[in-house]
Symmetry: C2
Subunit: 412 residues, 2 copies
């Protein structure tokens, strides 16, 4: 769908302010804490990492958004970069409580109205004196401007090279509503969420149940379909806050407004998720895998993700090598049954398209042209399974020397 | 167990000859075809890739070893490197038939007595004139010497940098028996077999059912526990031929001789499999992951493989970075339930050992010493789950610049 994009990031939604600040958590000379605050209580919904090992802030947030007593009264989000506060045991949970209490004190709200996020090194402990000082700095810097959202967005980056913000407007119940988001995360990103943080604001009025439903619908085809390296983080968090200041009648059932809201959120998060894949650690190209005519939607998703995760395929994309065999091979080990003698495979980009395989057998094609097609910044592998009517799209990136370089000594 | 190692590779077993030859399939200036021949018919067993997309030679071999009419009469193995004969449809199966028929004609045996293996580029077609000429060259070069096994072993290498041969002797029924093997494969290697070819000869007499049972037992803890990149090939093949010339009473039930044979085969294949992991594409270190006190053996295997496959962990090993958080994280997304607050994690090598985590929380340790421990050629991560009594070991390697380099343009 066509999105009606506007500027402003998370502050595009009425009644939201944002801030970034340099708290010196781990980095020096850059912002490393961010805050988002709503003038009024928000309905909140969230999706989190499915890793068995969950960072303390994930456990903190889950308690708030899954609890009917607290998920209609969220006021603030506080995030730090540099240290993930994961694998930190009791101390980690105490750090969350302290951060939320300090935020509550500074903003005059309750600690259970504060959503937290952390990203960075696993197994390191947060320097609480700096975190608390950072909360005060953030409060002092709060503003409802595009610059403020931008600063918050940049403050949460770790190995990201591109700022990731988006905002759109839509009409619900005759009222102009807004949805804005900031997000980060270009490594340890794998289907089902990874060191990916995404915070979404909206001034639309949506009930907790419908907000949760819309978020899950939107995530299934967006953040759950991107992968940088198949590693799944302990910290992934995607939280949406809806403060209702747009004045529309609250969406409380699956009516037309719900559909418009959910579809807009889905399209917006797909666009945002693609930015993560394209900015994958060391990536030189966005790699899109489109699986068509699978027998079920779930199978289509599994097949697309298997290809997008294959290190050999990703290395071939980096080398601009039209190695269709590796793609067929990755489909083959996905764990889904299909008839390899039916599969058609085509590569596409802005430079054109090249059919590589038809009915499972290799075609004759111009290698030089195929290399040209694979030399674009966005390349697509189209896999037609000839099994049914379902499709799915996954996004990833190529595997380059720089991925290894970035990750061989991330901590130092 | 202690192996009684001898020289000779596949020709260490009585009545087996081997050969390598330069057939010009794809490479020039090196051997690229290999042959193993037994003087008398052999009992055969095999395990093959579980990829849905299976190369033509895998389908050919499966038909022979799974058929009671043919799995007691195998006489020869013919292998080529350079072209995998995978994703080649009807033409691929015809190429197998032609190769086996030519081998049968040259050796005076039936085409259904010939096991085939191919490794190399997927989606390319075999030049049948060269393959057939190669079969004649191989026949002329057959010898029962160590040099002949060595030449066969080197002929099937692709990106391997180290020749992989092994031979042992053991006593069964008072007779000295031998088992020898050659194998290749250092990329696209993932649990459940990958572009990994391994051919094992033995002069022990073993029934088809017991040979199959011993092979599966041995593979579960050896070749199925190694991984270079998580990609699983279309061509993996491990075939064992037993010609009975040692004169022992045929092992036809799970008696003491069976146990001795199976345990020897297991220990031998573990040693062989470790060579594949250590020689992983671009690898600078063998990475061993040992999971202890898991609740089930299967869970121990899944957890160990998840860590050994984690790109972030592999990159950290390359950087000699004691990033225990990434290891805990990889345990967490393995798909097995456990209590993260119980896990102990230690890294070990010839330089010493360093406990990184205890009961899920990070310990204080000397980073410099940890780096020294991780700078050895073989490093081990020991994960104690504190859940039960089962354990498993997986082998892989680090992720280096060279892995990317090797695979970015493998075909050219």
């Amino acid at each position: 769908m066509e999105l009606d994009k506007i500027s402003g990031g998370v502050t595009a939604s009425q009644g939201f302010k944002a801030a970034g600040a340099a708290a010196g958590i781990k980095y020096t000379g850059r912002d490393d804490m961010a805050m988002i605050v709503s003038d009024v209580p928000c309905t909140a919904a969230g999706v989190f990492t499915s890793n068995v090992v969950q960072a303390a802030p994930v456990r903190w947030d889950r308690n708030i958004v899954r609890n009917e007593k607290t998920n209609r009264s969220v006021r603030a989000v506080v995030v730090n970069a540099g240290i993930a506060n994961a694998c930190t045991g009791e101390d980690g949970m105490n750090a969350c409580r302290e951060t939320a209490e300090e935020t509550g004190r500074v903003l005059g709200i309750g600690s259970d109205q504060v959503i937290l996020g952390s990203t960075g090194v696993i197994g390191a402990y947060l320097p609480m004196d700096r975190v608390c000082a950072g909360v005060q700095l953030l409060k002092d810097a709060l503003a409802d401007t595009e610059a403020a959202s931008d600063r918050a967005s940049r403050a949460i980056m770790t190995t990201d090279t591109v700022n990731k913000e988006i905002a759109v407007q839509l009409t619900l119940d005759g009222k102009t509503c807004h949805i804005g988001a900031i997000s980060k995360g270009v490594g340890m990103i794998e289907p089902n969420m990874c060191t990916m943080l995404c915070f979404v604001t909206t001034d639309a009025a949506v009930s907790p149940a419908m907000l949760d439903k819309a978020l899950r619908y939107a995530v299934a085809d967006s953040y759950n379909m991107i992968s940088v390296d198949g590693d799944m983080s302990t910290n992934d968090t995607l939280v949406i806050l809806a403060n209702g200041l747009a004045g529309n009648e609250e969406i409380a059932e699956e009516n037309e407004d719900y559909v418009r809201f959910a579809e807009t959120l889905r399209a917006m998060l797909i666009e945002q998720a693609r930015k993560h894949a394209a900015d994958g650690e060391g990536a030189t190209a966005l790699f899109e895998v489109r699986v068509e005519h699978a027998d079920t939607r779930e199978h289509a998703r599994i097949l697309a993700k298997s290809v997008v995760n294959s290190p050999l395929t990703k290395a071939a994309v980096y080398g601009h090598d039209a190695n269709g065999g590796r793609i067929l091979c990755a489909l083959g080990y996905a764990g889904v049954t299909f008839d390899p003698d039916l599969v058609d495979l085509t590569i596409k980009s802005a430079a054109g398209e090249v059919p590589l395989y038809r009915a499972g057998a290799k075609l004759d094609y111009d290698e030089e042209f195929a290399t040209r097609v694979l030399s674009e910044k966005e390349v697509c592998a189209l896999c037609d399974m000839h099994m049914g009517a379902e499709e799915a799209v996954a996004w990833g990136c190529d595997l380059s020397y720089d991925y290894v370089k970035i990750n061989a000594d991330y901590r130092s």
